[in-house]
Symmetry: none
DNA sequence: CTGATTAACTTGTTGTAACATGTAAACAAG
DNA sequence: CTTGTTTACATGTTACAACAAGTTAATCAG
């Protein structure tokens, strides 16, 4: 156990252990975690402590509790009922992806900042073109922290969406934040997407946080407007 | 005490009392509330209960605690954070609006279709420029059905956002649907917004439904990217 | 008067204990 | 086979107690 962990409050140490259980796949989304009484035996702490750990993870959206039933690992944070905003993000039919370039490097300082990494850390970088029905619809720059990248580097070349691949490797997310803007296609982007330079693109910057709050993905994607459909619905 | 309150858990009853203390001005924002020990005496409950009430109010953003110092009522009633699917849409400071044109007509067939109106119905049309800090940030075309338009036609010239005006006339909405895309500024739009033609704009098409499901507003707004901030958050 | 120390607060952490209440599977009765 | 009951087990609520640790203001030494 590391030094920082030793002086952390017990309930935070246990909270971290629980998060690790999920990250390592011992506790899987949708499944029940051990009951409070078992956890009391397992970690040899009081119920107060266990409950405080669980309470925070519920608050973080990682676990869900219901009186009378075992506490469960949340399936996905998205399928909620009664949320004020629903985001649809559908495109074409036959979806695929093509990797233009991929490397592992220690520069890319801006992306590393977004991923909350140190200067010395390495990142996986993928330059991808997302295709729908064999036509390019988006140019994407995808950055992954080293531990995540090593797990999914093979999938990133095949999967249109990397989230299923992440889930299969027990890398689960808690939160996705997207910033939407617009930009003009550069010569480079226009060539890739088959457009005229200057054409308006929907420009989406996305940061995904893992269940421990640490970023697991940063990406910048530029979509062709005609192949894009971003609908936000607010209300009941 | 009301019947519903009697069967509520103690900590929720006390939480409600605390909220009332704030609403009635007994506890003022920025000021300290009584210490836990005082509250224990005052309400004659255990510290567990008091702390659970306080914890929830902290989570709700109503109170703020700091070890060693008295718990305080939050100065700025913290915005709802962590709500899944929340859309933030903030821009500059000094917001205003300028109306370029307004009329009441029976054409504009596309907009009338979106508003689910018949061909013979009339619509109010406003061409507006939204300004932030005296600089134009968006060009907006706003369409209102005749009954709605008559109520707010004066406000549409002054209000940056027409929803408060609608609410004042008891026109409430149930649902907002926005489609986000990007487009290149036309010569006309570029002139208005002070840009070069072709510049990428964030293009938002919005339909608002009233509480009876009938559309009350259709608009198309094109924002300057630099003055725009559209953040979507999914998850907790 | 200044500056370090202390005393008297505050909230934070953790344990123990008892009872309340919701859930679902096992079981019994029709 | 369906329905109602029991029962074991889950989380929720509440109380009491002790100590940890941060903050602030009074106190005291210089």
């Amino acid at each position: 156990m590391s030094d920082e962990q030793r002086k952390l409050p017990l309930y935070l140490q246990i909270k971290n252990k629980m998060v690790n259980n999920i990250k390592e796949g011992a506790w899987k989304p949708g499944e029940a975690i051990p009951s409070e009484n078992r956890l009391i035996e397992q970690y040899n702490v009081s119920r107060t402590t266990i409950r405080q750990s669980i309470r925070e993870l519920v608050q973080d959206g990682v676990l869900e509790t219901r009186r009378g039933t075992p506490t469960r690992v949340r399936q996905t944070p998205k399928e909620e009922e009664g949320n004020p905003g629903v985001v649809h993000h559908e495109l074409g039919e036959e979806l695929s992806v093509q990797v233009l370039r991929s490397d592992q490097c220690a520069d890319r300082y801006y992306a590393k900042g977004e991923l909350m990494l140190d200067d010395i850390d390495e990142v996986f970088f993928f330059e991808r073109v997302r295709m729908a029905d064999a036509r390019p619809i988006a140019y994407q720059q995808l950055f992954l922290p080293k531990p995540v990248g090593e797990k999914v580097k093979d999938d990133a070349a095949k999967m249109f969406d990397i989230f299923p691949a992440l889930g299969m490797h027990d890398v689960h997310y808690k939160n996705i934040k997207e910033t939407v803007s617009a930009s003009n296609a550069t010569q480079y982007e226009a060539d890739i997407l088959g457009l005229i330079p200057g054409e308006a693109l929907v420009d989406i910057e996305r940061t995904t946080l893992g269940i421990d709050g640490i970023p697991i993905e940063y990406s910048r994607t530029k979509y062709i407007t005609s192949a894009f459909n971003y609908r936000i619905e607010i209300g009941r």
